[in-house]
């Protein structure tokens, strides 16, 4: 932890996956680092640090965002959802997670957490998305392994299961 003057420290209160968390951080600390380092939630990944790859995607107050672009002081009291909060219980998976496994939507897995959040955001907006809507909804999440093809299939499969 860097040595800061007390006036420069922020008492950050967050609700992460439904659980209240507090930590003391620099106001400009990236939400990504707060999650990974202060809260030890390492499911959210850093792929580029410049908001291009989407590996750091989380939901803040119900909206999909890149956590590498958000300073801590902008998420005071916010509701955050990360990949760790998707499964209904530690022993089960949600429909999208199951579909990713069944359809081969995850290969190396590094883009998967962000991709799952993007999938959720997409399905909230378009419960039965067209191919174009799927492509647009995932356009901010880069995957180098799959060529996206089986991620598209996984989303279609998840829709079928949910309806």
């Amino acid at each position: 932890m860097q040595q800061l003057r007390p006036a420069e420290q922020l008492e950050l209160k967050l609700h992460v996956n439904g659980v209240s968390r507090t930590c003391t951080v620099h106001p400009m600390a990236r939400l990504l680092d707060v999650l990974r380092e202060d809260l030890r939630l390492t499911g959210t990944k850093e792929g580029c640090g410049e908001g291009e790859c989407g590996a750091c995607a989380v939901m803040v107050d119900g909206k999909l965002v890149c956590s590498c672009l958000i300073p801590a002081l902008q998420v005071q009291s916010a509701q955050i959802k990360t990949v760790e909060g998707l499964a209904p219980s530690p022993e089960s998976l949600d429909a999208v997670q199951r579909a990713f496994i069944e359809c081969g939507g995850a290969q190396c897995g590094i883009c998967t957490p962000g991709m799952l959040l993007a999938a959720h955001a997409l399905l909230e907006r378009h419960p039965h998305p067209t191919e174009l809507q799927i492509r647009e909804g995932l356009a901010g999440n880069l995957c180098r392994c799959t060529g996206y093809t089986k991620i598209f299939s996984a989303i279609v499969r998840a829709c079928e299961e949910r309806s």
Partner: protein
């Protein structure tokens, strides 16, 4: 062997769920930066800002508490009794630059501090004084200067490797030729762009040993590099692979460098050290695909028979050798294509330049040379007045004929059938007609869109070239624990391609046991034998076969101990293992690679069986070009390949789809912008890989002609899709627009230049 119904879903040919899939979709999978080390020091690398220079002085400017910062230089390596080199083919690449640097971004110093922000700030406060030396950035200039000895930047003549493949009598070929065609083709560098940046962590122990964990493809490469660097015996170095977020070759050899750095820093600090590259650093400093230039000159009979083939293939290896000789080897051996030609010469050279060293990237030389030959053949077809597919059909190699390396094709191949399949699936001929007509109409009406369809036909050798597999002598071990759980031990890494799942399937298939009885041991040099690197499309075919053999060995031990009958169930097998443990002792079997008989390769003459077997493919691209913006959109894509045996249909298709997408990037988007030997666009904002909006629909079709060399006949497939995609796309663009572009990436800017040139000189060719 009887396999019960419930086991079929997990056997070879089925698509069981990814072994580590649940961990990946819940965020529980642990990549190196997810691991927390108490008391860790974060490392950053101070790098050269000039391409070639002598180091005169190093200054540490005020602004950080330098007394808290650990500094490692080249002196720390030799002072510690080690060798300042990253051991690979040669030992020419220093771990840390000593008195000279030979490329921009070369590592000079390591800095470490517990606070990442302070370490980063310190990096910017190191100032190095250089005395510049004249660099060379162009591979042909390097070859020329090297040949004349006028300007040497590496070795005696700037040449990492050179060889020639010869077949028949080229002069006789020219004499017989009725038409001669010539062309120069060029491919640019390409960044692997795994989404997880390179990262390593190291920790020393009180017994003088070191453990390194991180993102990697080849734990034993790192092991060899560190034993050499530190002068340590084998048992004092332990390398462990953490979950790896993509590799594609970019984590084949480079990790040895960052592992060495982490270990050096940990030794200096007396605490664990972690180095995680930021994206810019990863892009500009680590390896990329070798740029290439190929000159092809071919001679033909009017009937479409190729009678002479002369190929001059050059690659740019960057400042140090790394794997350039092997990339050159594969590139050279694929340069002539899946065709039979009586008279062939392939000259191959890998030149040094003062760019950061280039290295392994899926395809490993073949995407470069296949691009050239497949573009060239379309040009030849046009000149001969034949359709592109007709020209190829008249020249495909058949069983019993020889490739350029004089390898006799023994595994059955029928490229004509594959071609017919591809043409039918894509409706090729009808579309070609339709697009030609609609393009003409669009031209008359001044509409902006043009459509085209194009193909490429190619092969990819599976496993290491020539005697490579023999030299590796890969070993796999399989054992059972006291509860009858089967553990597969191999150094083959899971990097997304499905190693864990495939090995499990092979064990299930061989032993008739349930998949959840099988564990694939994490690649840890203390726990697994050396089954070779995870490269060269060898994991399923070569190592997978050893997994099967080791499993057979295990079963044989149980049988000979009379603990297992024929037609056993999974439960029977588990019980037998438990009994073996109780009554006899540990149960373990190993298998080692045996070179197959009748696969003979001569490294000196570059002649013989270059690869045990090949995957064969026909790829077809359908494109739409917009002449307002000169952008090319790949609308549709068909990938037809013969792969021996599809072990896991979902994983196999996933490999093809992912490779095609990467190759779409290689063809149209992924330009590395160079200035004075440094990548200028080393950010994901400016180095453009395809998004979900940019990839076409990809239709994958597999044919199966089992090879004797792989488990149930499986060949390698990981690199195949990288080879033929780019030329198929550019062939389609030429069909769409009549514009002839001979280099990739072909950006819209490039197509515009071709379009304007064609407008200015409408009567050429």
């Amino acid at each position: 062997m009887k396999i019960s119904k419930t086991l079929d879903a997990d056997a070879i040919g089925s698509s069981p769920p990814r072994k580590e899939g649940a961990a990946k979709v819940t965020g529980r999978a642990q990549y190196i930066d997810d691991l927390h080390f108490a008391d860790v020091v974060h490392g950053v690398t101070v790098r050269s800002s000039v391409a070639r220079a002598r180091i005169r002085a190093v200054h540490f400017l005020p602004g950080v508490p330098w007394e808290q910062i650990f500094v490692v230089s080249a002196a720390d390596i030799s002072d510690g009794g080690g060798h300042n080199a990253i051991a690979l083919i040669e030992h020419d690449q220093p771990c840390l630059a000593g008195s000279v640097v030979n490329h921009q971004e070369e590592a000079v110093l390591l800095l470490g501090h517990p606070d990442r922000g302070i370490a980063e700030r310190a990096r910017n406060l190191v100032k190095i004084d250089y005395e510049p030396l004249p660099p060379i950035f162009d591979m042909d200039e390097s070859l020329a200067q090297g040949e004349s000895k006028a300007h040497l930047i590496w070795g005696a003549n700037n040449l990492f490797k050179e060889f020639e493949i010869q077949k028949g009598d080229l002069q006789a070929g020219w004499a017989a030729a009725e038409i001669v065609c010539e062309g120069d083709y060029e491919t640019g560098a390409q960044e692997q762009l795994y989404i997880e940046p390179q990262g390593m962590a190291a920790e020393w122990h009180s017994d003088g040993s070191v453990t390194v964990l991180g993102s990697m493809q080849c734990p034993y490469y790192i092991h060899k590099a560190l034993t050499h660097l530190f002068g340590l015996p084998d048992e004092k170095v332990r390398i462990i692979q953490t979950e790896t977020g993509g590799g594609f070759g970019g984590k084949e050899e480079y990790p040895s460098m960052i592992a060495a750095h982490a270990a050096l820093l940990a030794r200096k600090a007396g605490r664990p050290a972690k180095i995680i590259y930021d994206r810019i650093e990863d892009m500009v400093a680590t390896t990329k695909r070798h740029p290439s230039r190929t000159r092809i000159r071919t001679g033909w009979l009017r009937s479409g028979q190729m009678v002479a083939q002369d190929i001059d293939f050059r690659i740019d290896g960057g400042a140090y050798m790394t794997l350039s000789p092997v990339v050159l080897s594969r590139g050279g051996l694929h340069a002539a294509g899946p065709y039979v030609c009586p008279n062939v010469r392939v000259r191959a050279r890998a030149a040094a330049t003062n760019a950061p060293p280039h290295g392994a990237f899926r395809g490993f030389g073949a995407p470069q040379s296949v691009f050239a030959i497949e573009r060239h053949l379309d040009e030849v077809a046009a000149q001969l007045g034949l359709h592109p597919e007709e020209l190829r059909a008249r020249n495909f190699v058949h069983d019993g004929q020889t490739l350029a390396s004089s390898q006799v094709v023994r595994d059955h191949v029928d490229m004509n059938e594959l071609l017919a399949r591809g043409l039918a699936l894509s409706d090729f001929s009808r579309k070609r007609e339709e697009f030609s007509l609609s393009n003409r109409a669009a031209q008359e009406q001044r509409g902006p869109k043009r459509r085209g369809i194009g193909l490429a036909t190619f092969m990819h050798g599976c496993g290491f070239t020539g005697s490579g597999e023999r030299m590796l002598g890969s070993v796999v071990a399989v054992d059972s624990d006291e509860n009858g759980r089967i553990r597969i031990r191999a150094s083959s890494t899971e990097i997304g391609q499905g190693t864990n799942t495939i090995f499990t399937q092979i064990a299930v298939d061989t032993l008739g046991i349930a998949a959840d009885l099988v564990d694939v041991v994490r690649p840890d040099t203390a726990e697994v034998p050396n089954s070779g690197p995870t490269v060269a499309s060898r994991t399923t075919m070569v190592v997978g076969r050893l997994v099967a053999e080791a499993c057979q060995g295990l079963r044989a031990q149980l049988r000979s101990a009379e603990l297992l009958a024929e037609g056993h169930s999974s439960a029977d097998f588990q019980r037998a293992c438990v009994e073996h443990h109780r009554k006899i002792g540990p149960l373990r079997a190993t298998a080692q690679y045996q070179p197959p008989p009748n696969v003979n390769w001569d490294d000196k003459t570059y002649r013989g069986d270059a690869y045990a077997t090949y995957g064969w493919a026909v790829y077809i691209a359908e494109v739409e070009v917009d002449l307002v913006t000169y952008e090319t959109r790949v609308c549709d894509f068909w990938a037809v390949q013969e792969v021996g045996k599809v072990v896991h249909p979902v994983l196999a298709a996933g490999q093809i789809e992912g490779g095609v997408a990467q190759a779409v990037g290689y063809a149209l988007y992924e330009k590395v912008v160079w200035k004075e030997g440094r990548m200028q666009n080393g950010q994901m904002t400016n180095y453009i890989m395809p998004t979900s909006m940019d990839v076409p629909r990809i239709h994958v079709d597999f044919a199966e002609v089992p090879t004797p060399f792989g488990p149930r006949g499986a060949k390698g497939i990981g690199e195949l899709p990288m080879d033929g995609t780019a030329p198929a796309i550019l062939n389609a663009v030429e069909h769409a627009t009549g514009l002839r572009v001979r280099h990739i990436p072909m950006t819209p800017e490039d197509l515009m230049v071709a379009a304007l040139a064609a407008e200015a000189a409408p009567c050429s060719n």
